[in-house]
Symmetry: C2
DNA sequence: GCGCAATAGTTCAGCCGTACAACAAAACGC
DNA sequence: GCGTTTTGTTGTACGGCTGAACTATTGCGC
């Protein structure tokens, strides 16, 4: 709709979030979304009548919409269960399992992998390869990832499921469109468009919808599967320290998708020099390599090794981790003052170290967060398990399916 | 819609941003918004046909919608101007002036006031009273503000205009609902609900829609009147240092509306003590009182006095301001790394000091912002004039009118 | 000066999706 | 076993958008 007006000089109005023109079928799309959300976010399987009551639509309308979702394989009907009550028994509605799946992909410093989730949240396929990818060749690594993904796709399609799309997690700066990786220092990658390189395809040859995102941000989304408030800050502690900001169950990406770079918050301008050029960056206190080295371990050692030392009461390890915790707390307090969140989820390496850093971080944040007197900040370890970004990526694909069911029915 | 389901244990689905049930009149509302946005955000007055082309609606539909907006006093028709072209001349559509007005209110440390803006952006009424409100009595001050507002309302209603609502700017922590002031240290106010206290009413006695917001955040919105990118960070330098985050022309408030508290970002942990309890907060380097004291002036002096000293080459003033600029740059670099914006607008006292701090801030930010190599950060002075929060508040009211025209036609 | 082409805006039948009300289905309770 | 209750479905009414035909008003060529 270029709207090349020749009458008045230039009349190309920007269309804000209201989106585009609403027609009759827009009603359908919106109400389908509403009904899908009602089924997917309910705490107990609702009936058509429940959905009608909750959404404000009539039972008649809800019925036709639910029928469409059932036909499209997004929603399933459980066998009607007779309630302890007069009246025709209700048909409970639940997300349909083994029908539509989302793919989570990840390339990180020490592994690459694929995970397929269905709408119930079950893992229906998974492939993981470990090994150092430090300073690796993107073409070669993405080819290996494509092979893994193709295996997973073949597996789920053989079982009669449809693949809705994929999200690729990378440890670096990715633009908000999900197309371009600007730089991933720890992989040694830069200026790259991984999507055409991957060229993922379904069994019938059609190109899959693939988007790239930052690893910490997708890992943050994995937390939404558990018992977490709608808004929180997720901090992923690895070689780098990244963060994902979730507001009202949605990622806040900032102008270009580059927010959450907490690793280079300056904790102390007179501190140690950082690879980024500045001094006293958080990464120099709470990055994985610093924690390992400070504990007298090689940087290739696993975090478990630090935990062993901490358990044994090793003074160097205890000092290093405590110092890292204080620095992390200071940086997080700044974060809380600037973006305002009341829950901080510590992920990545910090999960295993939580017993030692948790209270340190919480103490410093409580002390420095301006709003703490009115609303204390909750600091907790991440609940999603290993390779959280795989789960988060797959969930994000499925979220987009539920958010626009009209495209899948 | 409580949805007290008695069938299944609990089925109260959360309804996400999709909102509530969409009916026929929802289409009307959405398309009215679309058409209103097309008229209000066009660079040149569009015709009905232009709006149709830009929105994707048919000319028939646009016609009925525009007629409704004209009848409601939101849009006006200019006399048809014969273009240099065959065909019936178009009727240019413009925002209707002197019809609907928004009210901006503010109570700050050194003044209180009201400003009324119409949809064109013209100031149609204004009342300002200066004087120190440090440690003032909220009841008394709000009563004075109510009197000023009543005068302004009477004035615009006498001229046949309707008041759509008001926004009250306060220098403190305000919740996201816009109801409760948690604390405003420099006023000495705390735990307050100013809206019922103000109890603003239109001439016919109906209660006006009033919301409270942080002063820096409303001032940020005032910038949208000028030539500013859709996403930016606005920093208001006063006694305290606050910020407003604007993403895609909308305020980002954070979980509870308490974000942007940049004044208490720790610039140097070994720096001077701050009233908040921590050490080395930005406010202790770049707050107005510190800049005045550092220049050898009383804290009651105006910022102009510092400018005079700077012009005269006063060494103490130059040092103090330069030090403040460096601290501000460091804090802003952190901000940029955490929330990702590419434009920083310096407002409040920093406008007058811009000639001395601008390049210092820009230099430090450029040096420390992680994304700077890919996309340089633009630092600029605020364009909105004095009492920007008044303009921003009034504009915010009018934005809500244009965003939901169905309520006003 | 007049007819033709071009553009703006309006009118009206048709379609689509929702509401409303009546109805069919399937349980409970006395 | 029959009324009551609740679920889910069927059919009609209504509102809002589309598309095509129509009117209004200009410029241009002859």
């Amino acid at each position: 709709m270029p709207a090349i007006s020749t009458t008045t000089p230039a009349a190309a109005p920007r269309v804000p979030d209201g989106g585009s023109a609403s027609r009759q079928h827009t009603l359908r799309e919106r109400n389908l979304r509403l009904v899908a959300a009602a089924v997917f976010e309910a705490t107990a399987p609702p009936s058509r009548a429940d959905v009608a009551a909750a959404s404000g639509l009539t039972r008649a309308t809800v019925s036709t919409l639910v029928d469409r979702l059932v036909a499209g394989g997004l929603v399933a009907e459980l066998p009607p269960v007779a309630a302890q009550r007069a009246g025709r028994p209700a048909v409970p509605l639940v997300p349909a399992g083994r029908s539509v799946v989302g793919l989570g992909l990840e390339v990180n410093v020490d592994y690459l992998g694929v995970r397929a989730l269905d709408l119930v949240g079950d893992v229906v396929a998974e492939r993981v390869e470990t090994g150092s990818l430090h300073d690796s060749d993107p073409r070669e690594v993405l080819a290996r990832l494509r092979a893994l993904a193709a295996e997973a796709i073949a597996e789920v399609e053989a079982a009669g499921m449809r693949v809705a799309g994929a999200r690729l997690a990378l440890p670096g700066l990715v633009d908000a469109r999900g197309a371009r990786l600007e730089v991933a220092p720890n992989l040694g990658w830069s200026s790259l468009e991984p999507v055409p390189e991957l060229d993922l395809r379904a069994g019938d040859g059609r190109a899959l919808d693939v988007e790239v995102a930052n690893e910490a941000k997708l890992a943050a989304l994995a937390e939404l599967a558990g018992d977490v408030p709608p808004s929180f800050l997720y901090v992923s502690g690895d070689v780098g320290v990244g963060a994902g900001i979730v507001v009202d169950r949605q990622l806040f990406l900032g102008e270009r998708g580059w927010n959450g770079e907490i690793g280079h918050v300056v904790v102390d301008p007179s501190g140690p020099r950082c690879s980024c050029g500045a001094s006293g960056c958080l990464e120099q206190y709470a990055g994985k390599e610093v924690l390992l080295r400070g504990s007298g371990l090689p940087t290739s050692a696993p975090v478990d090794a630090v935990v062993d030392l901490l358990r044994a009461g090793d003074v160097a390890a205890l000092d290093t981790v405590r110092r890292g915790g204080r620095a992390l707390g200071a940086a997080l307090a700044t974060f809380v003052n600037l973006v305002d969140v009341s829950t901080i989820v510590l992920g990545g390496a910090y999960v295993e170290l939580y017993g030692w850093v948790g209270h340190v971080v919480a103490g410093v944040v409580e002390e420095r967060a301006l709003a703490a007197p009115f609303a204390p900040v909750d600091v907790r370890p991440a609940a999603a398990g290993k390779h959280a970004a795989l789960t988060g990526g797959a969930r994000e694909v499925l979220r987009s399916v539920v958010a626009d069911p009209a495209r899948w029915v």
